[in-house]
Amino acid sequence: MNIVIMGCGRVGARLAGLLDIEGHSVTILDIEAYSFRWLPPEFAGTALVGDGMDEEVLKKAGIGKADVFVAVTEADNHNIMAAQIAKHLFNVPKVLCRIYDPLRRELFSSLGIEALSPTTTFAQMLKDKIER
């Protein structure tokens, strides 16, 4: 699959590495070239400096042929806007997006964005561990 990831932090870089090993064609975007230090040394995909909310940057990243777009920058609103551009302007079949704020996640899920909230998931995991 062709996969475009926006945000090369710990999560983005790790995800890129995992998908790359599986044989997927991965392009990862970040506004800082320095962030690419998180990528595993054997990463064979493309790392591109640019803002994933910018249509031109997305085109360069091959969004037109992408099967999946993942938005995992630190900022909720960046992720939300980029995810909606990928979904509504470029018709990417699968769009995933991280939203820390659980209430915002709820709303944008209802608007058709597949959004995950690490806040809710992780809190639940901790609770389960404590009560077990």
């Binding site: 909720d76 960046h78 939300i80 806007m81 509504h88 704020d101 915002r104 608007l111």
Partner: protein, 220 residues
């Protein structure tokens, strides 16, 4: 009318001031504490500190009963998210977003934001009007029609001087709407109107035909 404004920067502040003067009920949401204090000192208690993209803050300020919701922070993505929350969570009938990047207009419209205002484009248009040698000035883009209103000045040495309007081969979709001459009343040009030097022509055209229109009128 109850109007909620997100962002208390220069735009938000003066907008709130103007709307208050018109007698509206206005509330500003601003992230920065000292900015919030400043606005409250200047305009009375109309500003609350908080993030306009947080559902809890929007609930607190009573967004549900707002007639209009205007997001004017400096960040396009924040304005988008705030307006989408207002529209879909609180059913505000009219949402207006400020854009810094004119390119984002398409996606904002597609996502149902009622009105977008691109500050970058507006500033560019005003500067264009102030550059006297500029051959064609954009006055207004007519929303959702693909048409625009432009201004063209006939230079003193133009070969079109003395020609009648019907002799010009205007590009399709372009209409000359008004001729303004120094010391004369503005007139609506007819087929027999003769062009003069220094005529100021207001025309309706399309972005594609704009170049051709300029060439036809200025003859250069």
């Amino acid at each position: 009318m109850y109007i909620v404004i997100i962002g208390g920067g220069k735009v938000g502040f003066y907008l709130a001031k103007a709307l208050l003067n018109e007698g509206h009920e206005v509330l500003v949401v601003e992230k920065d504490a000292s900015r919030t204090e400043f606005i409250n000192n200047e305009l009375g208690s109309v500003c609350i500190r908080g993030d306009g993209c947080e559902v809890s803050i929007l609930t607190e300020v009573g967004t549900g009963r707002a007639n209009m919701f205007i997001a004017v922070t400096g960040e396009d993505e924040d304005n988008l998210v705030a307006c989408q929350l207002a529209k879909h969570k609180f059913n505000v009938p009219r949402t207006i977003a400020r854009l810094s990047n004119p390119r984002n207009e398409t996606i904002f419209k597609k996502l149902g934001i009622d009105v977008t205002v691109s500050s970058t484009n507006i500033i560019l248009e005003y500067i264009e009007q102030e550059v006297p040698t500029h051959p064609l000035t954009h006055l207004l883009a007519i929303r959702d029609s693909g048409l625009e209103v432009v201004e063209v000045k006939i230079p003193p040495n133009s070969p079109t001087i003395g020609k009648k309007v019907k002799e010009l081969s205007l590009p399709p979709g372009s209409i000359l709407s008004l001729i303004i001459r120094p010391q004369e009343k503005p007139q609506v040009p007819t087929a027999d109107t003769t062009l003069q030097a220094k005529d100021l022509i207001i025309a309706v055209t399309t972005p594609e035909a704009e170049e051709a229109l300029r060439t036809v009128l200025r003859g250069l």
